[in-house]
């Protein structure tokens, strides 16, 4: 089902491309894609650009429908899409603009360990992590919650985990929204979502979710890196996971529900997966309340996963908590809708910013940043595929043009089935081992599906957001060991 896209794209500059509003009569604003010529060529090979144009149909959308350079074909919105709607002007919220894995996101920790401490023991370390961190399809966590506890978890988010001994108070300061966004409404969550969420706090999941041990191998901004406690040769740990079955169910419930209310609001859309409702409506508010529950679930999940990792490291390296020094640098979502204030043509507006496969990137001085980070800007965590690099970036003032958003990863170029076909007979685990990367995965298919060749080059994607000025490189990491779901 190869479907290419031959629609109109106008060059704005080397890194910005416009899909004109005239492309489709239903578009309320133009589309803008952040890419260079080479990436753009790849973008045209599937239907992702059409999805950028489709998102421009959303009622109340302001300025443009955006796509980051890691854009790829999704369902409804493209992956790598940003769309902001003006709430007072009837702006909508769309569950499909957030995605099924609500608050899928990244968490990055620094350690006092060096590559030398880890390198020789990496195989054992990865096995011990794999045995202690529930991963893979259908995995259950060590944390089970009753219905009453689950309601508390949905309101308190990461704090719920800290109160139960998973981590420390300080971790919350370095988590977006302190690990719990206000306005979560457990009353708007279905029984099915509760059921799916009960056994999954503290589970990694499968697919592209992972836990990775890395080493800092390049510093671009020494000053910012030292603020984050990073230096060349130091070991970092990155966790990628989300709200698990709980979030999938919330999205499913509301995407279906909103499809039924489209007529009532007089909304017509080119794709049913874009179903939406005004933020200021019963339907919109209910989804927002449920989505925030799922977001808090995900922050709680990553908090537990981090603490389980810390315990493994402390035991494995027989060092106390201070010795390993596994401090949280930051935790940030990349599938979420947030209510934020932005300056639009000189006027402050309250917007509902959808980031689907896009990362918030607040500039230096922003009031929501932890005190220590005010001088450098918000950390932006960008994972690459398991054989290449990952990056730590920071937000910039220039990112005002993207509602302070940037890319979220490298973005797929090859379908999962194509990857499995192409890599048949090859052992991805062995190939990675030859490059000095030890990988352990719960599912055999996962490794082929997630092979480096299935992704765009993260170095290229990050170069584009850096050159375009919507975030700034601080340092680059190289993987040493990976636990895959």
């Amino acid at each position: 089902m190869k479907q290419t896209w031959a629609g109109p794209i106008e060059k704005i500059d080397d890194y910005r491309w416009r899909i004109p509003k005239t492309y489709n009569p239903g578009m309320r604003v133009p589309g803008i894609i952040y890419a260079d010529e080479l990436l753009l060529e790849g973008i045209r090979t599937d239907r992702a650009a059409e999805q950028v144009a489709n998102a421009a149909h959303l009622p109340g959308i302001v300025k443009y429908s955006l796509a980051m350079p890691d854009i790829h074909w999704g369902y409804g919105f493209c992956i790598g899409g940003v769309a902001a709607t003006d709430i007072e002007a009837g702006g909508v919220i769309s569950p499909g603009g957030v995605g099924f894995d609500i608050n899928c996101g990244l968490r990055l920790m620094r350690t006092n360990l060096t590559e030398k401490d880890v390198k020789a023991k990496i195989r054992d370390l990865v096995y011990v992590l794999f045995n202690n961190i529930p991963a893979g399809l259908g995995s259950k966590g060590e944390v089970r919650v009753s219905l009453q506890e689950e309601k508390q978890l949905l309101i308190k988010g990461a704090r719920w985990a800290v109160e139960r001994g998973y981590g420390k108070e300080e971790d919350l300061e370095y988590t977006e929204e302190h690990g719990a966004i206000a306005g979560a409404d457990p009353g708007s969550v279905s029984e099915r979502a509760y059921e799916r969420g009960r056994k999954q706090p503290g589970t990694l999941g499968s697919g592209n979710h992972f836990l990775e041990i890395q080493v800092v191998d390049e510093i671009y901004d020494k000053g910012a890196a030292s603020v984050f406690g990073l230096d060349r040769g130091l070991v970092t740990v990155m966790i990628h996971s989300g709200s698990r079955g709980f979030g999938y169910q919330v999205c499913d419930d509301y995407a279906r529900g909103m499809l039924r209310s489209l007529d009532k609001f007089g909304i017509s859309l080119p794709d049913r997966q874009l179903a939406c409702a005004p933020v200021n409506s019963k339907e919109g508010r209910a989804y927002l309340g449920a989505m925030r529950c799922a977001a808090n679930y995900a922050w709680c999940n990553r908090q537990i996963l981090m603490e389980l990792t810390r315990r493994v490291f402390q035991k494995f390296f027989t060092l106390g908590p201070g010795g390993v020094g596994m401090d949280l640098i930051y935790d940030v979502a990349h599938n979420i809708a947030k209510i934020e204030r932005h300056l639009i043509d000189g006027k402050e507006k309250i917007l509902c910013v959808h980031r689907k496969g896009a990362t918030r990137a607040f500039p230096p001085g922003h009031k929501e940043l932890p005190g220590r980070y005010k001088s450098v800007g918000q950390p932006v965590i960008i994972p690459g595929d398991m054989g290449t690099n990952s990056y730590l970036l920071v937000g910039t003032e220039k990112a005002a043009e993207t509602f302070y958003s940037t890319c979220h990863g490298s973005g797929r170029v090859m379908s999962r089935s194509a990857a499995i076909r192409k890599l048949k007979g090859r052992s991805i685990a062995k190939e990675l081992e030859q490059k000095g990367i030890f990988v352990h995965s719960a599912g055999r298919e996962t490794l082929a599906e997630e092979a480096p060749e299935a992704y765009k080059d993260v170095n290229h994607v990050v170069k584009v957001v850096h050159e375009a000025g919507i975030s700034r490189r601080v340092c680059r990491m190289r993987p040493l060991g990976v636990v895959k779901g």
């Binding site: 992702a48 074909w73 099924f100 999205c251 179903a275 379908s415 089935s417």
Partner: protein, 162 residues
């Protein structure tokens, strides 16, 4: 892998006997999508289409070879139209699979109309020693959801979020 356009042309230019032969050999196929996985299922009637689509979905999720039809579950659903019913059917099976930890393999449809279905799904409780899981399906999406009759057989398409 069958390409969409040539395939359509092929179907339209085919004789009924050739089509029947095709249908006998193919119940479903996995279709390419950059980030996710699509499924195209076929059936001589809606019942077969729904059954084949469900088998297709579970074959993406797990290796069905060692799954025995030991447990059964009644499923009754309603939806505003056939496409949404198709989606609800797959979505419901996925939910039941995750919450009950059952891999379904066989499907018996008692009653099926444009907006309701009553069926029995049979499968086996997940056993990590005997069963091999493949890919997690997070959800069934509305994107490019299609159920249509082409000549004298039915075809359904969905994209799963993986």
């Amino acid at each position: 892998m069958v390409e969409q356009r040539p395939f359509k042309a092929w179907v339209e230019g085919s004789s009924p006997s050739r089509l029947i032969k095709f249908l006998k050999m193919k119940r479903y196929e996995v279709i390419d999508h950059t980030a996710d996985v699509g499924l195209r299922a076929y059936g001589k009637d809606l019942e077969t289409l729904f059954t084949n689509a469900a088998s297709g979905m579970f074959s993406i999720l797990a290796d069905l070879k060692n799954v025995r039809p030991k447990t059964s579950l009644r499923i009754k659903l309603e939806a505003p139209n056939i496409e949404e019913l198709f989606l609800s059917w797959l979505s419901e099976l996925l939910y039941q699979c995750e919450s009950r930890k059952i891999i379904f393999k066989e499907f018996l449809i008692d009653k099926l109309s444009q907006n309701s279905i009553s069926a029995t799904a049979q499968g086996e409780k997940l056993n990590s020693h005997r069963h091999r899981l493949k890919t997690e399906i997070k959800a069934v999406t509305y994107h490019q959801l299609k159920v249509r009759k082409i000549k004298d057989y039915w075809q359904g398409e969905v994209i799963f979020d993986i």
